[in-house]
């Protein structure tokens, strides 16, 4: 706040002080005494000119495998970008925590694998690629589903099994889809050949699109992934293989599962990079680098994102039998992706704490409304049971639990 240094008489001081300040600060000071509540809103709306439009950040260098050069070690982030990343990550965080709540209330059933802690991965990846690119991942998919454009209410309604869910309640937690997003896949590792197939289609159609194919540290030991590495490299498919290494495959730590935990090297003849998955800018820069590599026709590339999940493997896993609470707490306090971004933005004058708090409030409200929708929307009608067996097929009948119960199936 700029305060006038001019000497004034005491009784005029207050007036002069007020007049010398930016006008909305003046109003806020006046309002503070008149309407304490209102002033908080006004105080937060600082002038755009008060913030920097962008800032440059040092980011961690990536470990490289079969690559001469890696992504840049500095990243430029604009204020708009920062706010967008923040809002997106915070939305995912709160959405996952809301899912936790709903699950414990038994409103969500079955499998629920939560993504909180890993937000920087899906957000950093999404902002580095185009909407026309393709993404496929495993079952810890809610964050990607949101990042790829499905609204929170449709995700939560899918989790609660309602007709307003993004796939009408037919899929559930592990099977959510949208344009250029192929789920959500329940069978560990099976999505990797699928992703390479999508990349094959990208190459076939020649529209310069790529496919991000994600899997975890547990899945990384699946044989079909190595078959896929071979074919992707052989045919130079525009596929970015991405291992989200959150250190544990269910209850098994990486050291107990893999003879080599250098997941970025496991592609052997495929170049790889190991990335700090808790830093959204690191992920973004690495993904941009990898995307450019793929689009240039050089073939596949592998990225290992080192990240962490706060929740257990799924909602049935407390997550503390194979790791200590201290470890979880340490990651939360030192490496939380949202805190990292917040600190960066505030320390570099890209946003104020109040502004970010406002975003938090807005996000909470959005999640609450979405949860409200997800708990009040009706379940799908029984008729839905038989639908979508086939695509583009004339209606036919589907057998129910006995020969007299039949459902109509439409496409």
């Amino acid at each position: 706040m700029f305060i006038s240094q001019e000497p004034v008489f005491v009784q005029d001081t207050t007036v002069f002080l007020l007049l010398s300040l930016p006008y909305h600060v003046t109003i806020s000071v006046v309002l503070y005494f008149m309407y304490p509540q209102a002033s908080r809103v006004v105080v937060a709306s600082r002038n755009y000119a008060d913030f920097a439009s962008e800032a440059t950040f040092e980011i961690k260098k990536c470990d490289l495998h079969r690559l001469e050069e890696g992504p840049s070690t500095t990243a430029v982030m604009t204020r708009e970008e920062g706010l967008h990343y923040y809002k997106t990550m915070q939305t995912i965080r709160r959405m996952e925590l809301k899912s936790d709540q709903l699950y414990k209330q038994k409103i969500i059933r079955g499998f629920c694998h939560l993504y909180d802690g890993q937000e920087a991965c899906c957000v950093g990846l999404e902002v580095a690629i185009k909407p026309t690119d393709h993404v496929i991942t495993a079952y810890r998919a809610h964050g990607f589903t949101y990042a790829r454009g499905v609204p929170v209410r449709e995700i939560l309604a899918e989790l609660t099994g309602r007709k307003g869910g993004c796939v009408k309640g037919k899929g559930g937690s592990m099977h959510m889809y949208t344009k250029n997003f192929y789920g959500g896949n329940g069978i560990v590792g099976a999505q990797v050949p699928l992703g390479a197939g999508i990349a094959l289609a990208c190459k076939y159609f020649g529209k310069n699109e790529i496919c991000l194919t994600l899997y975890g540290d547990g899945a990384a030991n699946q044989g079909q992934i190595f078959e896929t590495y071979n074919m992707a490299a052989l045919w130079k498919l525009p596929c970015i293989f991405i291992c989200e290494n959150n250190r544990y495959g269910m209850g098994t730590s990486v050291e107990r599962a893999a003879a080599s935990t250098d997941y970025y090297k496991r592609g052997d003849f495929i170049p790889g990079l190991r990335v700090d998955g808790m830093d959204v800018l690191c992920v973004r820069e690495a993904a941009k680098f990898a995307a450019e590599y793929c689009r240039s026709g050089k073939g596949p590339i592998l990225m290992e994102l080192q990240t962490y999940r706060y929740h257990g493997h799924s909602m049935s896993d407390p997550g503390i039998s194979y790791r200590t609470r201290e470890e979880i707490q340490e990651v939360r306090s030192k490496s939380d992706p949202i805190t990292l971004l917040k600190d960066r933005m505030v320390n570099n004058n890209l946003a104020s704490i109040e502004e970010l708090k406002e975003i938090d409030v807005a996000v909470r409200k959005e999640i609450e409304e979405a949860a409200q929708f997800a708990t009040t929307d009706p379940e799908p009608p029984l008729e839905e049971l038989g639908n979508h067996i086939y695509f583009n097929e004339p209606p036919f009948e589907v057998r129910g639990p006995n020969q007299w119960i039949r459902y109509k199936s439409v496409s």
Binding site: K168, K170, V192, A196, E227, N230, M231, W235, H388, N392
Partner: protein
């Protein structure tokens, strides 16, 4: 003449144009000499050539169609089904894969999800077991799980069931395994018309189709009607065909055993027993209505298949007949003729007795007719 023709065929890869065959030859003659010809007659075409024609025509018709599998390209196909196609269409449309069933099947399914129309060949369906997760969990179920958002227009094809002397690991029939799963369509051709028409229908279908061919049928010539020679000829999926009409007993079969049924019917006809032989053509969705109508007429049912008896195609047919109105028309319990309930042995005498023979079908018919 023959030598010249042979020489031309030899030079074909270098670009020499072969004289037109079949209908085209007739047309050309018509044009050049002003002759009037009668309508082209049916010709003899092997199942192999029928499949080859189907692939050729569909590759030409739709750019999104492509073939992948082991040895399909430069080797012309392990059983020569894709002969000449790689030469004609190149690497992009006909792809050799490494020996990685789970991997390349998943790649094929992913390509289908992203808008291509792959034909994924298994050298035999025995090897599909390594990839069955991709066929069932990734291909069959995705349309349903995504509430129709993602289609998987893929064809899985290859030889199925017993061959000759290939022993236990290479002789299994997968009709029951794949026929079990909602979301898949499963077809099982017998004749050349079946093979060509069903393959074309499968490729044009927007859903995952498993096409169970038979290696021993590849070299067998069948008459192919003029209609079947057309580029637009398709056999509808889900419709059985009555190969032979009869009044005393219904024989229902699929794939190679259809031929055995017709042989048995010919022998039984001499004894005054008229068999109605139904070629299922499609395992899923099964055309049980045709079977029911036939049972209503004949009052006796014998199912014939190459696969193992337990939980097989015949078991399904019997269950459905029992559940439907045709049950009231049965004069005797339905009877199944199947492969023997053992892994396939190697020695010829043992193998011969593990697959349903004509004599086994005749025996079953006489048992059910009580003659």
């Amino acid at each position: 003449m023959a030598a010249a023709a042979a020489a031309l065929r030899y030079l074909a890869p270098l670009g020499a144009r072969l004289p037109p065959q079949g209908r085209a030859a007739g047309r050309l003659l018509q044009q050049r000499r002003g002759l009037r010809l009668s309508a082209p007659a049916a010709i003899q075409v092997t199942v192999r050539d029928a499949l080859n024609q189907a692939l050729d025509e569909e590759l030409e018709r739709d750019e999104r169609v492509f073939l992948l599998g082991e040895e399909v390209a430069q080797y012309d196909g392990a059983y020569k089904i894709s002969r000449g196609l790689w030469k004609k269409y190149g690497d992009k449309r006909v792809m050799d894969t490494p020996i990685s069933e789970m991997g390349f099947t998943g790649i094929a399914v992913g390509a289908a999800m992203a808008g291509l129309r792959p034909v994924c060949e298994f050298m035999t369906f025995n090897f599909s077991m390594q990839a069955i997760d991709q066929v069932i969990n990734s291909a069959a179920k995705t349309c349903y799980m995504s509430a129709g958002a993602i289609a998987v227009p893929i064809v899985f094809r290859g030889p199925n069931g017993a061959s000759a002397g290939v022993a236990a690991q290479h002789s299994q029939c997968f009709a029951a395994w794949y026929g079990h799963c909602p979301g898949l369509k499963v077809v099982s051709p017998w004749s050349s018309e079946d093979a060509k028409g069903l393959l074309k229908a499968s490729i044009r279908d927007d859903n995952p189709v498993v096409m169970l061919e038979n290696e021993l049928l590849y070299g067998v010539p069948f008459e192919m009607s003029e209609q079947a020679q057309s580029k637009d000829f398709v056999v509808p999926i889900g419709k059985a065909k009555i190969e032979r009409e009869g009044t005393h007993v219904t024989l229902v079969s699929h794939s190679r055993p259809v031929g055995h049924c017709l042989e048995a019917a010919a022998i039984l006809a001499k004894e005054g027993v008229e068999c109605e032989v139904i070629n299922l053509r499609t395992i899923r969705p099964m055309d049980i209505e045709t079977v029911e109508a036939s049972v209503v007429k004949t009052n006796h049912l014998v199912t014939v298949e190459g696969g193992w008896p337990q939980f097989g195609v015949g078991a399904e047919i019997c269950a459905r007949i029992m559940e439907g109105s045709a049950f009231n028309y049965l004069d005797a319990p339905a009877v199944r003729v199947t492969g023997a309930d053992v892994p396939m042995p190697y020695a010829k005498i043992l193998e011969d007795n593990c697959i349903p023979q004509v004599k086994d079908i005749i025996f079953a018919v006489k048992k059910t007719l009580n003659i």
